[in-house]
């Protein structure tokens, strides 16, 4: 499968801690995106990183991309209970004409 694989599948932390989730993929990409989904809702776009970029920041979010290892990580700093959600990576594979979503990481942030 060309689908992104995410780990961990689930992560439980306390408020104020950092949360790191990883995404690995198998073939060349044009860009990689991270989305967030609250339970029973649609997805919300968080950040897009292109294949020629190595790191991007947005507020408390930091995304890195290592194309040599075919992997990306999403770091949420100083987590809050409101960050509780599922986080998905999505990859735009070169020549594939589709955005393929990973299996997701379920994050639980306890007060």
């Amino acid at each position: 499968s060309q689908q992104g694989e995410e780990d961990p599948q689930a992560l439980s932390i306390q408020e104020g801690e950092n949360a790191t989730m990883n995404c690995s993929y198998k073939t060349s990409i044009n860009n990689l995106q991270w989305y967030r989904q609250n339970s029973g809702r649609g997805l919300v776009h968080l950040i897009l990183i292109r294949s020629n970029e190595r790191e991007k920041h947005s507020g408390r979010l930091r995304v890195t991309l290592d194309t040599s290892k075919k992997s990306s990580s999403l770091l949420i700093t100083a987590s809050r209970a409101a960050d509780t959600a599922s986080y998905f990576c999505a990859t735009d594979f070169t020549g594939f004409q589709k955005l393929v979503f990973g299996t997701g990481t379920r994050l639980l942030v306890s007060p």
């Binding site: 044009n30 989305y35 029973g40 649609g42 997805l43 919300v44 897009l48 998905f88 999505a90 735009d92």
Partner: protein, 114 residues
Amino acid sequence: EADIYQTPRYLVIGTGKKITLECSQTMGHDKMYWYQQDPGMELHLIHYSYGVNSTEKGDLSSESTVSRIRTEHFPLTLESARPSHTSQYLCASSELGQGFEKLFFGSGTQLSVL
């Protein structure tokens, strides 16, 4: 806040009924998509469109059909619903660019077929 709307939010129907899930966006996006997602699972692309009168099947085989008569509207129809169609259906749109720009998602329709 995304300007993409899905109705109904929840739908419970009996087997054999014909249903249409509505999706509309006010952003003028050319690309639109339908994804199917079971609880806690990944998203599967079932249909997509690059513009008016353009529709394509996605990765996951689906008995549903779609139409794209207007840019802003991308309805999904099931002619005869079955319990196996029970799932969440997510509509999304994006600009027509060189690659895949970010997707805007609706809130989804949770379909239950009894």
